[in-house]
């Protein structure tokens, strides 16, 4: 059985339409006798038979358009004598692949003496990485750009963390202490490192004998953090707020609240509420850099950093500006619970416009948060600490004080607006008391 295919009638033609069959099934056909008329974009042509025999099947009907090479009919051959030699596709398949253009330079393994790519050397220089400490995953164990970036991330996690807190080190990615940040080579220019003789050397890190494998979530966090630090020039500022009145108020109502709502009323919802109201007053804080413009968000969706044992999630409280303190408390409680049980949906992790980070939960009193890129700013709420404070003209009192730390994308925001915003948050927090409605 021989087959007749749709011919390629023209260099750019990819398909043809069967115009008319000139033979019917059962007709005898001679070699070169026209079988059918085929119409393409370029020509109308007769398709001749390549065989002597009987037309057995018509597989493409008149008017049908099929691709070049499609079998359109079969012919029962009268013997095998008339078959012409055909250059089959199979023969073509057997051809060795052209590799003249790919040279073999990359198949040569690296020399025993380590050589590094320009990108790797630049990164190592900028981040003060001892490349001999980096495990290479490239060809022949070559240290790749990605290896260096991952190494830098690992080192940041490992550095400056006390052994007992090492277990939770990976959850602190956002709320890193200022001192650590300065020692964090990827993030600080060389000039900032002058005089930092006490900085841990790369070799110190190697004393942690255990190499912790990097999970996909860890990778995602690392990439996100590096992107933020690369893209957004961070500026940092802090205010201290007297929340004595807030503490008293919350102490007074928390029992009743728990009884009524079934979950705890923490301090965080109060902070979020004041942040949200201040964002409405300073919309530029609720924005993002978009290369040729700044995108100012109308809605306020608060990203809330929630640490779990081995990762960090930042679920979103959508339309936080429509919620009361109690509403926010409910959302915080719900998201935190679901984050820890791994039940957040992907949609709940996207779309935030400003991030609040509760570093106070770790006992921190000062932190330098990394912006949750591409947002414009992040605010961390530190531990509330009772300490002596000068009040009025000349007296000292024991007050409940808290530090609010703010990192901003300096491309969008300057110190003035950051200060205005923090002042607004501070005033609102200090005004909370018995008159405040939580519903």
């Amino acid at each position: 059985m021989a087959t007749v295919v749709m011919p390629k009638l023209g260099e750019s033609v990819t398909e043809g339409t069967l115009g008319r069959w000139l033979k019917s099934v059962g007709d005898t056909v001679e070699k070169y006798e026209p079988l059918a008329e085929v119409i393409t974009d370029k020509v109308t042509a007769e398709v001749p038979s390549d065989f002597v025999g009987v037309l057995a099947e018509i597989l493409v009907q008149e008017g049908e358009t099929v691709g070049v090479g499609t079998v359109i009919a079969t012919i029962v051959e009268q013997g095998e004598l008339t078959r012409r030699p055909v250059m089959t596709e199979a023969a073509a398949e057997g051809t060795p692949v052209c590799n003249a253009a790919v040279d073999s330079r990359r198949s040569a393994p690296m020399l025993a003496e380590k050589r590094y790519s320009p990108a790797v050397r630049r990164l190592a220089h900028e981040a003060k990485v001892d490349l001999s400490m980096v495990q290479g995953t490239g060809l022949g164990g070559r240290v790749t750009r990605r290896d260096v970036l991952q190494y830098i991330e690992q080192k940041k996690v490992a550095q400056g963390v006390t052994p007992e807190s090492l277990r939770s080190a990976s959850v602190q990615t956002i709320g890193r202490q200022l001192g650590q940040s300065n020692a964090d080579p990827a993030y600080v220019g060389p000039q900032a490192q002058v005089g930092m003789a006490q900085r841990a050397s790369a070799a110190d890190v190697d004393r942690f004998d255990e190499r912790v494998p990097i999970t996909p979530v860890r990778h995602a966090i690392a990439r996100h953090m590096v992107e933020s630090k690369h893209e957004a020039p961070h500026a940092w500022t802090m205010v201290e707020v007297d929340v004595t009145s807030l503490v008293r108020f919350r102490d007074k109502i928390k029992g009743q609240f728990k009884q009524r709502e079934g979950y705890d009323l923490t301090y965080l919802p109060f902070f979020i509420k004041c942040v949200v109201e201040s964002l409405k007053e300073h919309p530029m804080m609720n924005s993002q850099w978009a290369d040729d413009h700044i995108l100012v968000h109308r809605d306020v969706h608060i990203s809330l950093a929630v640490a779990t044992k081995d990762a960090l999630f930042v679920p979103v409280i959508f339309h936080a500006d429509h919620l009361s303190i109690a509403g926010i408390a409910g959302a915080v409680s719900d998201l935190a619970a679901r984050a820890r049980s791994g039940k957040l949906t992907v949609d709940e992790l996207k779309g935030g416009t400003f991030t609040v980070n509760n570093t106070g939960a770790f006992g921190s009193v000062l932190s330098y948060p990394i912006i949750n890129y591409p947002q414009a700013a992040i605010l961390s709420v530190e531990s509330i600490v009772r300490r002596p404070v000068v009040v009025g003209e000349d007296s000292i009192a024991i007050r409940s004080m808290v530090n609010l730390c703010l990192s901003v994308d300096h491309r969008i925001l300057d110190g003035w607006i950051a200060g205005q915003f923090l002042r607004s948050v501070k005033q609102k927090l200090e005004a909370i008391g018995d008159q405040t409605s939580i519903y």
Partner: protein, 327 residues
Amino acid sequence: MSVKLYIDAITDAMRQEMERDPAVFILGEDVGVRGGVFRTTQGLIDQFGEERVMDTPLAESAIVGVAVGAAAYGMRPIAEIQFADFILPAVNQIISEAAKLRYRSNNDWQCPLVIRAPFGGGVHGALYHSQSLEALFYHIPGLKVVIPSTAYDAKGLLISAIRDPDPVIYFEHKGMYRLIKDEVPDDDYVVPIGKAAVRRDGTDITVITYGLMSHYTLTAAEELAKEGISAHVLDLRSILPLDKEAILEAVRKTGKVLIVHEDNKTGGVGAEVSAIIAEEALFELDAPIARLGGPEIPAMPFSPPLEKFYMLNPDKIAKAMRELAAF
């Protein structure tokens, strides 16, 4: 907006520009009643007449030379070279005349000319119906050279070329005429000359390419994605001028670059792109710049296994991409 074939987008651009501007006309071999050997000018003679869709004698230097004169005297000619391979007799007119007219007359004369030339292989065209000749022209200041890879770009770049005050060589890939289709606006719009397009976002390796190879590269990239390799793909679209910023940006994405073109490697567009990267982005590089092109033989042979040996395909490209990713 409708889905159109690459070839129809080209015809659309010419028709709309001829409707808009009476100075626009087409000249070339078989462009009239035959509508072009590939049918790119089909129907235009009926709408615009035989003077504006002019069949010329079989003489490429005259086609371009006459077009240069007409362009200098207020017209906007579109000179069709039937196959890019046949542009060589017209090279003196292109390089000595069209490219230099404005410069040598100190801006007194100009040459707003489009030269359309179907190029590329894989169509059983053999040595003289398959060549990629862009490297001959991307070296010549005074010319612009574009190579669209989508129907959208085919129309938008051709409209840009026709409206451009300087000579533009517009290479259209024969293999894409009826293979590629995508959404094309019905109205007129332009794709700016000199702007590359990111066709795929990726993090592991960067592939810089153009023409039919853009499609092959995207196919290869999908294959590699299944293996966990994420490829960033930049389609140059314009060869002259090159979009330097886009090239450097694409390099910065991954630090590993492969340049792919159908043309042979030596002295090809990839050589210039490599040089730009080496000059301006050395410290972004995490691997030697890699190039993949046709073999160093004079042109594409006819017999299927020979042609297949010459032509790149998604598999060959995927192989080179894998090697780069592994580096």
